[in-house]
Symmetry: C2
């Protein structure tokens, strides 16, 4: 059976979203059909607006709807501490930890020559340009513990070599709530190397 | 950290959808941010259109974008066979089985006095009205095997009593691919009662 055309069109668009297969598209579509038209208009408006209104912060690359993002503009953030991340969404992950109060620098990806991301595509020179004006003393590499993340980390570290700043990276170890049984050998090796004295 | 306002608005709207929690709303929002603006416009348009263009078929209550749905209007569908379902989405589930070629009647819910669905809220009299004009000989009850489904089935069966039509219901039994081990006792009891001779 063919769906009525407007429903077919909606299913087609919904299935393009990540993690939405035919079954969940159908569930979403029927939920949209049952809701108030006003709610659907609000959702449609929000989807339309987000691309038009959100842009990268001109200083750090974080998502913002103004020129300079709230974090870069805030006088409450610690000066001298710069956290380097791959994507703007990583900023949120670190913010949610409530453990970091410096500023961020979004590289715009990870080094991946096969996908056309070379050192020139990453905002490394922009980061170097911030060191002086923002009196940066420590750069924290907060990149994914993958081959691409490690390579990108080395690139950034090399670029920072002659600028006299401390370069650190997030600790490797067991994730909270994870079962030791299920941890892979690289994670356990990293947790052993990074072990800390109690108390 | 506060998200930029347009992103916050999008997350708020996405989280209202069924099965979308904060984490998947975030994933969807970032995917929308990375896509072409055109794709987002298409999705927003489809969401807006669906409520405006889809309506219940005036004959059977199935979803349609015209007055009388394709199934009711098709001369290829078997006359005299009426399948009663609770919701319009159930029509799709049965159509997908490729086993039924009659017509449908959507009740618009299941009997549930606690949620304010009494016999008057269900389109039972509309169903009775179709029996004569469509020369209905058999009514198949395709309702969920739940307490509400059973009660609704009895209601419909009673309403049909004096109209001289055959009333049947979908077989109860083991679902395809299900493990006998995992089937509950009511399912097994139903499968035993409904057992069929092989060959």
């Amino acid at each position: 059976m063919l769906y009525p055309r407007p429903l077919e069109a909606l299913l087609y668009e919904l299935e393009k979203l990540p993690g939405v297969g035919p079954k969940s598209a159908q569930r979403l579509a029927f939920a949209l059909l049952r809701r108030d038209a006003q709610q659907n208009d609000d959702l449609a408006g929000a989807i339309r607006d987000v691309k038009a209104k959100i842009r990268p912060c001109e200083n750090c690359g974080n998502y913002t709807d103004v020129e300079i993002c709230d974090i870069c503009a805030s006088p409450k953030r610690e000066n001298g501490l710069l956290c380097v991340v791959a994507e703007a969404r990583d900023v949120l992950a670190i913010e949610n930890s409530n453990e970091f109060f410096g500023r961020y620098h979004v590289l715009g990806g990870l080094f991946n020559p096969l996908e056309g991301v070379g050192p020139e595509q990453l905002k490394i020179s922009e980061m170097i340009g911030r060191l002086g004006p923002e009196h940066v003393e420590e750069v924290i590499l907060a990149l994914s513990p993958t081959v691409e993340g490690e390579t990108t980390g080395s690139l950034v570290a090399r670029a920072l070599e002659k600028h006299g700043v401390k370069v650190t990276q997030l600790a490797r170890g067991l994730p909270f709530g994870g079962d030791l049984d299920y941890a892979d050998q690289v994670t356990i090796a990293g947790a052993l190397r990074g072990r800390r004295e109690l108390g």
